[in-house]
Amino acid sequence: MSDALQVGVAGVGAWMDGAPDWSSLREVLRGNGGLVDNAPAKPAADMLPAAERRRAPDGVRLAVEVARQACAMANADPANLPCIFASTYGELAITDYVCETLARAPHELSPTRFHNSVLNAPAGYWTIAAGCTAASSAVTAHHRSFAAGLLEASAYACAEDTPVLFASCDVASTGPLAEMTRTALAFGMAMVLTPAPVGGPRLRISLRPGAGDEHAAVTLALRAVARDNPANAHALALLDALAGRGKTGLVLSVSAGMSMDMEITP
C-alpha cells in the first residue's frame, strides 16, 4: 500500500455555541469546564470588513473565524497559505431561502444571496479578507466531508511541500430541508497543517480498505455536536485527541470503501 502522510498541526481554531475558540473547547473536552452560557451567538469573524461581515452568511462567518484562529495560533501569514474548506452542505439557510424563493417568486431571487450560495463562498470571502492569492478549494463528501477533506488537505501539504489551512464547518439547517440534513447545530474547526513535522502535535495518516469507526465517544457536554452536526463528529474526535484526552488512534471512513488510519500525537 501507499506510504503514510505525516503532517504537523501548527494551529487550531474552533467555534460552537458556548465554546467560541479552541482554548475554551479544549477545556470542555478535558472536562475542566462546561459550555459558556453567555458566549457570543455568532462567530466574531472580525477579519471581514464591517460591510462584508454584515452581508456574510453564517457559514462564511464560521469558516473565517476558525481559519483566523488557526492561522493566529500558527503565526502563519494567510496571504500565501493554500486553503481547503470542507463542508457537508455549505450555506444551508441560503439553500432554504433560494429553494423557497424559487418555488414562490423566482424573479425575486437576491443576486447576493445567489452568489453566497456556492459551496466555495467561505473560500472566496476568506481569500478576499486575507489577501490570499494561493490555491483555495471547497470540498464535500456528505457525512465523510471532514475525513475526506482532511485527506485532501494533508495530500496537498505533502505533495506540494507547503503549509495548508484546512477548515471543516457546517451551519444549522432551516426550513423543510432540515429533515433531510439533520444538522441542527453549527460547528466549525480549522487547522494549519505543515508537511514533514519535526516535533509538536502531528498526524500520521494512511489509507486502508474497509469501513471506519462509528462516532468516537466524546464528553457528555459535546454529544449534541456529534448528533446534530454529524459531519463534524469525526472532527470532534480528532480535537478530543489533540486536547490530550481522546483516543490517539482513529479510523475514519473517507469513502464507501476506504478508511483513513490516523495516529495522533497531541
Partner: protein, 417 residues
Amino acid sequence: MRGSCLRILVGRVRIQPTTLAQRIEPLAVTACTATSALGRGTAAHVEALAGKRGGLRANEFSSAPLDCFIGRVEGIEEDALPPKFARWDCRNNRLAWLGMQQDGLPDAVAGVVAHHGATRVALVLGTSTASIESTEDAYRRLDNGRFPADLRRPEIHTPHSLAAFVADVTGIAGPALTISTACSSSAKVFASAERLIRLGLADAALVGGVDSLCDSVLFGFNALQLVSRQPCRPFDQRRDGISIGEAAAFALLERVDASPQAPRLLGHGESSDAWHMSTPHPEGRGAHAALDDALARAGIHADRVDYVNLHGTATGKNDEVEAKLLPRFPQRTRASSTKGFTGHTLGAAGALEAVFALLAIEHGQVPPNLGCGEPAPEALPWLALQPERRPIDVALSNSFGFGGNNACLVFARGDRA
C-alpha cells in the same frame, strides 16, 4: 508555493516552503468522454466543432422560462436510471449516467478497477449545484411542510450526490471527493487526482464534472444580470452575458507507463484572485498566477502552447480580463472559447473543456470561437474564428469561478506510435 516566501513559526522551527511549483511527472489520460448540448460522446462533439454547429436553443426549461438561450442535453427526461440505482434518481445523476455510458468509459473504468483493485482507484468529481434541482422540486411540491415522499432521500440533497452515485455505479472504492468551487470545480479535480497518484494514495483516478440545468442557476445568474438574451458571444465586442448549459464529462488518469501513447496531463495550476466574489481581478492577477503555476508544473514556457481553450464566458468582464493573458503566447498559438457551442456548463465546464483540449490534440483541429461576429481587437490575433486544422502538441484550458477561484490545465500529446 508560487512566488511566495511563507514562513511559519512553530516553536523554534521555521518552515519555509519552496517558492515555485515543481515540475510534475505527467499522467496518461487513458479515456475521456463528454455529453453536452452538442450530443452524446466525443464523436458528436468533434463533428459539431468542425461543422460550426452550436447546441444553444431558446430556453424552454422550468415552469416560468426566462427569455434566454440554454445548452440543454436531449433525452434526460426520458431516460430513468436503472432500477437498482433508483434511489439516486435526479436530473443531475441521469445526466451523469448518460455521460458515463459513452466512449467505452464503462469498460475502461472496469479495466482499471480490475487491474489496480477498486480501492486503488480514486474518484474526484466537480459540480457546482449537483442535484439541487431535486431540492428545488421538493420545495415546489411540499406536502404539509415536508418534502414529498418520493424526494425524502437525504443522499440526493447534498452536493456530494454526484460522486456518491458514480462510486456506486462504477464500484470505485478508493478516496472519493467532490470539489465545488463554482465554475472551476471540475478543472481542479485533475489537480487533486494528480496529487493522490503522485503520493501513491491511488494508482488511477476517474475525474470529471457534471452540472445540470436548474432554476437556481438560471434565475441566479439572471439576478446578477449576467445572462444574455441571445446565444452567448464570447470575445465579441457586443457580448452581453452567458448562456447556461449542462454537461457531463469524464477522464481516466493513470501513470504514463500504463499507456505511453495516450495524451497526457502535463500540468495544473490553481490560484485565488483575493478580489471580489463575483467579479474577476481587473488585471487578471489570479488568472496569470494559475497559468504560471500550470506552466511551471508542466515544465514548459508559454511559447510551446499550440491551443488555449479559453474560459470565455461572454460576460463583459471575464473576456476583457482573460484577453490580457493572450499576449503571453506567440500569435501562432490559437485560442477559442467553446461556450458558444455548449453554453457555460458551470461546474462541468472544467472537465468538458479539458476534453475539448484533448480532442484538439487527438484530431489536430482547433475549435472555432462560435458566436463572435465582431471580435474584440485585443483578442483577435489569437482567436480562431473558424475551425483550423493543424498539429496540436500542447493544449491548455482555463477555468475561473466565483470567489475568484482559478484553475489552468496543460495537456500534451503522448509518445508517437
